[in-house]
């Protein structure tokens, strides 16, 4: 039996694994202690649980547990990394390099720093969503302190050439931060092999709880420090004060452990499922995959369907929960700046859907989604004057459209 609507928006958030919840439950009422209480067993128990979770988290990314700074989520981690470097390394320089298709938590943080005197270069991604190490090299200046490039994109899932960029940064003595929110727990991310200095990720994209995230801060070669953005009791090696959210940290630890153990099996199953979804939807005329298909997360697909409008399409696929980006500016649907950055607004009229599968997605659900989308696109094209014109061979760009 299918439960409708079907959740296929796992890049927004994932459901929690029941085993994660189970691990968390004792830390609400029974073991409620403050991990910073040094004088009694309540505190010790909480601290022990947090230490264990830190080990679980570190193991997933091949880090040392001392390098795990707990935050409230990836947005805070991104803020802490970028603003923290800006302040900590102010005497070294004030130039930052990032990419225009980054998440807003990175872009808006950079914009904020620009107001405080930072200089930021926003690299332009190619049509397939990727940047090259040559672009980074060309943007480096004597005062560059940080390069921040997301590991995998949240809208189209493309994976940036992280290793090449970190090798370059290392040779120039520049720090490298990555927002790895969509990648950690989904594909192998190894901070040593990848040469990452700072890395943000969060619990709720990997079957863990919301409201807890991590900033990985390298301690050796080089030893990295960031200035705290939250002052107080000096928790997390002085980089992030605030009483630790023990149940969520335990949950994050458990989620990381499960990902470490089960990720490979999940990945191979999900990539087959995703490929099947795409293959079927590509049988729809004038449908396209957005972003590079070779360097991409296994569970994500972003597809465009020409001559149907985004909001109309979302209304038509009401039995599946997906995210929609539109390159055109319909009244209430925000255009996707990521898709626009890839040059998709050059096309006159299309809308896109992002499908994000999870380890809980079933073949039956994918089958349903395929038929549901096919029907909706067909129905909307049946009533689309643009589709009719396209079929008659009329060039839409040659028409003088009336503004309204």
């Amino acid at each position: 039996m299918l439960n409708l609507p079907i959740y296929l928006d796992n890049n927004a958030t994932t459901p929690m694994d029941p085993r994660v919840l189970e691990a968390m439950l004792p830390f609400f009422i029974e073991n409620f202690g403050n991990a910073a209480s040094r004088n009694h067993a309540f505190g010790w128990k909480a601290e022990e649980a947090v230490d264990y979770a830190r080990e679980q988290i570190a193991a997933l990314i091949n880090a040392d547990s001392k390098e795990i700074i707990i935050t409230s989520g990836a947005t805070e981690s991104n803020n802490l990394a970028i603003k923290g470097v800006f302040e900590m390394y102010a005497d070294k320089g004030n130039h930052f390099i990032t990419v225009e298709t980054e998440h807003k938590a990175v872009l808006d943080t950079c914009k904020h720093l620009e107001k405080l005197g930072a200089e930021v270069t926003y690299l332009q991604a190619a049509e397939d969503g990727l940047i090259t190490v040559e672009q980074v090299a060309a943007a480096i200046k004597p005062n560059t302190v940080l390069v921040t490039v997301m590991y995998a994109n949240n809208e189209i899932g493309v994976i940036q050439p992280i290793k090449e960029i970190t090798a370059l940064c290392k040779s120039k003595g520049i720090l490298f931060h990555t927002d790895a929110t969509q990648a950690v727990g989904k594909i192998k991310v190894d901070v040593i092999a990848d040469g990452i200095d700072l890395m943000s990720f969060t619990g709720h994209k990997m079957y863990g709880p919301k409201g807890v995230g991590v900033l990985y801060v390298r301690r050796k070669n080089p030893r990295v420090k960031v200035t705290a953005q939250m002052d107080g009791g000096g928790h997390e090696r002085g980089m992030r004060s605030g009483t630790l959210n023990v149940p969520s940290i335990v949950g994050m630890g458990k989620a990381c452990e499960l990902c470490r153990l089960e990720m490979d099996a999940d990945t191979s199953r999900l990539s087959k499922m995703r490929d099947r979804l795409e293959k079927e939807l590509l049988t729809i005329e004038e449908s396209y995959i957005n972003g590079n298909i070779e360097h991409r997360l296994p569970h994500v697909s972003n597809m465009s369907f020409k001559y149907v409008e985004g909001e109309g399409l979302i209304m038509g696929v009401k039995n599946i929960a997906v995210s929609s980006g539109s390159a055109c500016t319909s009244a209430s649907l925000e255009p996707s700046y990521v898709l626009k950055a890839l040059g998709l607004d050059d096309e006159l009229a299309h809308s896109s859907l992002r499908f994000g599968l999870s380890k809980f997605t079933t073949d039956e659900e994918v089958d349903y989604a395929i038929n549901h989308v096919k029907e909706a696109v067909e129905k909307l094209r049946e009533m689309s004057p643009l589709w009719e014109m396209f079929k008659e061979g009329i060039d839409l760009k040659a028409i003088q459209w009336a503004e309204h």
């Binding site: 006159l348 689309s384 459209w401």
Partner: protein, 138 residues
């Protein structure tokens, strides 16, 4: 966003989707909107040569549910009306009938524009001068 029941009904069961022969002298065609704006409506009327009554109306719309519903409703209202009466259809009537929220009022405006544009096309084809639209929508 919550759509009204009537919008959902028109979206799910649109009335009068289709295409009339735009080369016919009895057919007026209005094409309004722009793909970049996310709405394009094409509305057509077929006028009875003897009675001057709109005997058929068809539409095709690229747009959101409210735009589809506005044009679908417009075709329903147009059928059986004289051309002069059709000119009296006001966008606010559509807003009211479909319970459109403020952000969707432009859909009704577009439908009214499509009606006027179709009528003017018909008038021009039949040697009449187009009606000037003096109405301020905003």
């Amino acid at each position: 966003m919550a759509y009204s029941e009537k919008v959902i009904d028109h979206y799910s069961n649109p009335r009068n989707i289709g295409t009339l022969d735009k080369s016919s002298k009895q057919v007026g065609t209005g094409l309004v909107g722009a793909p970049e704006c996310g709405d394009v409506m094409r509305l057509q009327i077929e006028v009875d040569e003897l009675t001057g009554i709109i005997k058929d109306a068809k539409f095709k719309t690229f747009g959101c549910g409210s735009a589809i519903a506005s044009s679908s409703l417009a075709t329903e209202w147009l059928k059986g009306k004289s051309v002069d009466d059709a000119l009296k259809i006001d966008n606010m009537d559509i807003v009211e009938e479909l319970a459109l929220p403020p952000v969707k009022i432009h859909c009704s405006v577009l439908a009214e524009d499509a009606i006027k544009s179709a009528i003017n096309d018909y008038r021009t084809k039949n040697g009449l001068s187009p009606i000037e639209d003096n109405k301020k929508h905003y």
